[in-house]
Amino acid sequence: MTRRGRRFFVALVVAGSIAMVLLSLLTGAEPLSVARAWREWRSGIPMTEAPTLSILVQQRMPRTLAALLVGSGLALVGCAFQAMLRNPLATPYTLGVASAGAFGAWTATVLMAGYGLTRSILGVSSVQVFAFVFAEADVLIVYFLAARKGKVSPTVLLLGGVTMGMLSNSGILLMRYLSDPERLKMMDHWLMGGVDVLGYGPVLTLLIGVAPCMAILLAQMAKFDQLGFGVEIAAGRGINVRLLQTSTFFVGSLMTAVIVSVAGPIGFVGLIVPHAVRSVTGSRHRILMPVSVIAGGGFLCFCDIVARKLLPGETPIGIVTTLLGGPFFLYLLLRRRFTDWGA
């Protein structure tokens, strides 16, 4: 790919993502008139008496922001984990974080129903708190499995993560079995993920949990190139491989845990966005990672628009990301040479 071709692609991604953000602000159960919102803003009447403006500010904006943060965060962690594990199949959920988070959410639901758990803990919903705590517990267990005498084994991280994910999934089945049918539907909805947040609280949680982690991961771009190429050669070039692997693991998992606890385990974004971008830009993380961030945000906004419009009522966004992403990913697999992903 020539430098000009690459610039064109980057411009396209940026423009497309901006368009998705704008479209997301305008899309919803009822169409939104920009002119009316503007008039309401200019007139200075309080938000409670300005229906259009309040829909825009109280509903559409937080929702769009959440989609942006979740999408870009998952795409970035996908890139980072693929480099850290030196495995192009890695996703933010490879290490079991999503399943553990879902297990935590289910546990909270069951405890709230029968065992007197309060709906919220320190102002944050109990479901979120449990999802986060379970996800972090998974992270620690997987880490201690894989860390031995100054080394972290990517293979053990992978195997440990997959096993922890399966354990969590059977925990989810147990919780489902213990729940009454009323709750099943609600929790299934949670399990499919959604960015239909209410107000700015969840957006703030996302911002605090995700933005600093993204900055840390983006600062390692040049190192990921080296690590992806070869462990020993990277070490010879002055990279502290263990520190890079450990910090990427913890920062990426923390971010994923926050995202899962707020938006549920939205599938596929963290796999498909990095690959789609990689297939055009190549694997230099200096380009791959920032473009994936932008494309991930735009892609999830797009999926959220579809989720709002596809069926009457809301379709869970996890279904949309997979329905749209799956076939596209298969198309990429058909079109690309296998060496694009190394071997």
Binding site: Q82, N87, F229, G238, R286
Partner: protein, 280 residues
């Protein structure tokens, strides 16, 4: 400034294994090529890892210009000292030019932007190793020998003063083997220092200033000039094979060759049938 990398009575043992070597003294000096030879598993790669700072010696110390390696920051070390491992295993596809540019890492800013100077250096190193024609090829589609030349270019692009190369000629054809050693000799004249692991004893004899012969049963290697190290009895003992050292009729350099083991196919110079049976 001329640089020297020194190993002083270093020992190394992998976890719960007997020592690979102990009491190794070695020096890589500016302007010299140190050849490291020895049978498979004798610890050549391990020694390079220790000397490059990737592994900490169990005892003894490795110093760069008199300062222990551990006292350098990683990046400072990498600007002076480069290490080419025996194998790389890339997880993602990169073009040849991108691979060569990876070598610029210790000179880059935090976000890995390449300057015009970085590109120039990369292009010069590609010329040195005769890989300009491969520039846009996907590294993973190259032949083994082409890969080795690309890797050498990427190590040269690091612009180190001392280079530790693990079997850089293993997959090269005879043309590129001699080109590579000739290139190393030229660079050594310009003041670079090399330690090169190789299995080609004849090339080592011709191009190396000093040799280190590691063996599987001695814990201290034999070191000296090629003429001192490459003798029939020493090599025969080290490789557990009947090895003869003659004189090359043209260059007068040592000419090293192994006799065919008794009862195992044709004898030296003979024209018997190809090996058949003979092994239990």
């Amino acid at each position: 400034m001329t640089h020297t990398l020194t190993a002083e009575s270093v020992a190394y043992a992998y976890e719960s294994a007997s020592p690979v070597f102990s009491q190794v003294d070695a020096a890589v000096r500016a302007g010299e090529i140190l050849g490291i030879v020895g049978p498979n598993g004798s610890g050549k790669s391990t020694l390079l890892r220790v000397m490059s700072g990737l592994l900490r010696p169990g005892s003894g110390r490795v110093t760069l210009d008199g300062r222990p390696l551990s006292a350098f920051s990683n990046v400072d070390r990498a600007r002076t000292l480069a290490f080419l491992p025996q194998a790389v295993n890339p997880a993602f596809a990169l073009s040849v030019f991108e691979v060569v540019c990876l070598g610029r890492y210790p000179h880059m800013g935090a976000f890995g932007a390449l300057s015009a100077h970085d590109r120039e250096v990369a292009e010069r190193c590609m010329r040195h190793t005769e890989i300009e024609a491969l520039e846009t090829r996907d590294f993973l589609t190259l032949s083994g020998g082409e890969r080795q030349r690309v890797l050498l270019a990427s190590i040269l692009a690091q612009e180190p003063d001392i280079l530790l190369l693990d079997e850089p000629t293993a997959a090269l054809d005879i043309h590129h083997q001699i080109e590579l050693f000739a290139l190393l000799a030229r660079l050594a004249e310009d003041g670079y220092g090399f330690a090169v692991v190789t299995h080609d004893l004849n090339l080592a004899a011709r191009f190396c200033d000093r040799l280190l012969l590691l063996t599987n049963w001695r814990e201290t290697p034999i070191s000296g000039t090629p003429a001192e190290v490459l003798t029939g009895p020493r090599l025969s003992e080290a490789y557990a094979a009947a090895i003869r050292v003659d004189r090359h009729p043209v260059t007068d350099a040592p000419l090293i060759w192994a006799e065919t083991p008794a009862g195992n196919g044709p004898s030296a110079g003979g024209d018997g049938p190809p090996l058949e049976g003979g092994r239990s």
